[in-house]
């Protein structure tokens, strides 16, 4: 494998890896996988690293990545520190049902799953037999793929496939715990999660990202989710990463007839985060509810791009993202609702609310509607402002000091989203992290 590479640019780093692994005659991958990786590589070279001229990256400058000397070394031995991190998280879970990953690698010895009627496979792309659902998931390349999701497809070597068979209500939630930690080297990690929920089945899934690094870590994650007829998924993505972590997450969800997605994206990361959530409503009476909360602290950059496409009639989407922007952080919200001509009787709702607390914070919000059907109810709204003065005054007039009043209001603003998370363990964890992150007083 290529050794430490100095400042040659991210594209070149990926190209060298590609040459080493895929162009070599003794490549271990199946022809279909090689084919997909090649296609991805060609698209990646053609697109290049996105610039601000690209509408989808208008506020998201990624050129700094070219200046970081990344290595492909895999650092997956567990340090004492990592061991402590993993155990402290596991301890907080009342239902011990989790898969643990460290720097992208699955740690079987730390993981514990107690379900019988669920298929969980830690697949390796260089094996010679792969579930066809995995291959078809890799095959879904389209124009929503960015440099980073393509990079993921090229670099990823293994992943997790969760398949819930028909008519199964999986009552215990499954936690995917991703820990990133690097002490000195600038590393690249890739995770791939493929989820298939068969008709009339239900799954609770939590994806938790935590990092504590001394050097830069570039992490790409692709989650590909299929909800078949009548299926339901409750998905929580909770990102709590440190300032050295650069994360690109792309989540695709396809919803068939009468299926139901409930998802929450909570981002407390202090580094650089870009999330792309693409929801396709492809079956009538399907419903997607996606909420989000982002807290920008220090010099963090958090960008949430969501795209929901109503492809058929009688579906509902309900989107609500809230953000608090503090210190010198920069947050971006870009929500797009597309209602195709066939999608009559669509109900689509989108709202983005922001509190800009600090002098040096920046928020760019862009809620968009593209509507091609007439019998629809669509609305969106966006607001930016500080904590409402009238509300502070009202609390003060009841004898509450200004600091406490602001605390109360800020917490109320965030809790609105947190309380809607389906899993009570995580409501507790996230709430206490929020209090720490914003230096809030504990008030009850």
């Amino acid at each position: 494998m290529t050794q430490n590479i100095q400042n040659i640019g991210l594209t070149e780093i990926v190209a060298r890896y590609y040459d080493d692994i895929l162009e070599s005659s003794n490549s271990a991958y199946m022809p279909s996988i090689i084919d997909i990786k090649k296609k991805s590589f060609n698209m990646l070279i053609k697109n290049g690293l996105p610039t601000l001229k690209n509408e989808e990256w208008k506020y998201t400058n990624v050129q700094f990545l070219n200046k970081i000397p990344f290595t492909f070394e895999r650092i997956s031995y567990i340090t004492q520190k990592a061991d402590n991190l993993i155990r402290s998280i596991i301890n907080k879970l009342s239902q011990k049902n989790y898969l643990v990953f460290f720097n992208g690698k699955f740690l079987e010895e730390y993981s514990k799953i107690e379900h019988e009627n669920i298929e969980i496979i830690n697949f390796k792309l260089d094996s010679n037999s792969l579930n066809p659902l995995i291959i078809s998931s890799f095959n879904k390349l389209d124009n929503t793929d960015s440099f980073f999701s393509l990079m993921n497809t090229i670099l990823v070597e293994s992943g997790i496939f969760i398949n819930v068979p028909k008519n199964n209500q999986i009552d215990k939630p499954i936690n995917l715990i991703n820990i990133l930690s690097s002490e000195e080297k600038n590393i690249i990690t890739s995770t791939r999660t493929i989820i298939n929920i068969s008709p009339n089945s239900m799954l609770d899934l939590i994806i938790y990202n935590y990092s504590d690094n001394k050097s830069s870590v570039l992490n790409t994650a692709v989650n590909d989710i299929s909800l078949n007829e009548g299926a339901q998924l409750n998905l929580l993505l909770y990102q709590n990463e440190d300032k050295n972590t650069i994360t690109f997450t792309k989540t695709n969800v396809n919803l068939e007839k009468e299926s139901n997605l409930i998802t929450d994206t909570i981002t407390f990361s202090r580094g650089f985060t870009r999330n792309d959530l693409n929801v396709n409503l492809t079956g009538e009476f399907s419903k997607a509810r996606f909420y989000g909360l982002y807290i920008g602290k220090d010099k963090s950059f958090i960008d949430n791009h969501t795209r929901v496409e109503h492809k058929v009639a009688k579906c509902q989407s309900d989107e609500f993202y809230k953000g608090i922007i503090d210190d010198s952080s920069h947050c971006v919200f870009n929500g797009k609702i597309i209602v195709s001509q066939e999608a009559q009787k669509t109900n689509a709702y989108q709202s983005n609310k922001n509190i800009l607390l600090s002098e040096n914070g920046i928020i760019n919000t862009k809620p968009q509607l593209e509507i091609y059907a007439d019998d629809v109810k669509c609305s969106h709204g966006a607001t930016v402002g500080n904590i409402e003065k009238d509300a502070i005054f009202y609390l003060k007039s009841r004898g509450i000091d200004e600091f406490t009043a602001k605390n109360l209001l800020l917490k109320a603003f965030a809790i609105d989203i947190i309380n809607k998370i389906h899993n009570q363990d995580w409501v507790g964890i996230i709430e206490s992290d929020l209090v720490k992150l914003l230096n809030l007083k504990e008030i009850n």
């Binding site: 760019n364 919000t365 968009q368 509607l369 059907a373 007439d374 629809v376 709204g381 930016v384 402002g385």
Partner: protein, 481 residues
Amino acid sequence: MGNGNDILEKLTQSDYKHGFVSNIEQELAPKGLNEDIIRFISQKKNEPDWMLEWRLKAFRYWQTMKEPKWAKVYYPSIDYQDIHYYAAPVKKPGPKSLDEVDPELIKTFEKLGIPLEEQKRLSGVAVDAVLDSVSVATTFKDKLAELGIIFCPISEALQEHPDLVRQYIGSVVPYTDNYFAALNSAVFSDGSFCYIPKGVRCPMELSTYFRINASSTGQFERTLIIADEGSYVSYLEGCTAPIRDENQLHAAVVELIAHKDAEIKYSTVQNWYPGDKEGKGGIYNFVTKRGICLGENSRISWTQVETGSAITWKYPSCILKGDNSVGEFYSVALTNNFQQADTGTKMIHIGKNTRSRIISKGISAGRSQNSYRGLVKINKKAQNARNFSQCDSLLIGDKCGAHTFPYIDIENNTAIVEHEATTSKISDDILFYFNQRGISKEDAIGIVVNGYAREILNQLPMEFAVEARKLLSVSLEGSVG
């Protein structure tokens, strides 16, 4: 009960009422665009050297640019060499009285409801009538001059007030601003110039009426309005064109400058020929309009009723530089048949306590596409800035589209910015309610659309509000027997 779809189809059948062609003797520059043509235009206008230099610079810059493609509009590429960049009625330079104006020309404007003759003039409105590339008449000039107000064609201003023009032209929209602004800067042939001196409240509405008549021509007018300290002006703009199979290009630039305590109200009723029911012909309307609130407490308000043009690409904007300045944008954009509109505004908050308000109402019918695109930017130093935006879309029929692309960029934590948008159709419940009260579906749609647009129409001066209301009705009403 009548089938809703039948009615909607009939709604698209109303005819364009200003589609006639006038038989006026023309002077045409040869087709094509090069430095010689620009020199020809400049020479025709007897312009000072600096003006020609500026035009040439703009042209050279334009040659390095690419036509923008980011708007949600689709059209075959324009052959810029296949256009006449100058067309003018044959006349003696600068008609000092109407006796010198071709009677056919006066008739043309009369037909459009814009009488130029002294005895028939609209009371309370001074009109600058622009046909193709040149201004043909300006009314009430002398009366305005008594107050120190300058209202004349920009070509005349270049002769009579060159320093004023030189000081302000390109100061709000530099020729480097965008592709069509650069093109306009190179080839603009006429337009209105208006200067309101310190402390003067302009006693009448100033109005420019733009008419494209010649075929294969582009219209590139340039309007410059300066409101000096403490002054006020309300300015109206109307546009029509004959029915032709070809697409004609209209690329105008409007610059507004409001000094301390000054106020400019700029209203447009845009009714360029929209093309026929199959989408053939119609004006490509690529316009750059921008105002700057330069001084404290100044105010610029844009109101537009956009019903015409095959393609509209237009974002009347405000740069709120002076502290406590106010920018407003009120818009109704109605598209029908195969029309495409991509329109909205930019509000750039720079000064302290600046406020802006955006009310946009899009109405899509037929197979048209109607987009709102807007930017609200609060700069880091813009303390206590406020913005409220409301962008609603109404869909009539299931083959059209309504889109909203708001950009909100905030860099100051004292800002309060709110954006709301809804998309809906006229509900069956509302139509039934009207029916039940004895009003036909088609009338009901007309009434609802007018009600929907009321907030904007109320911003227009009386004379225009009436015209605009009729225009909305013509586009959507009165066609079911």
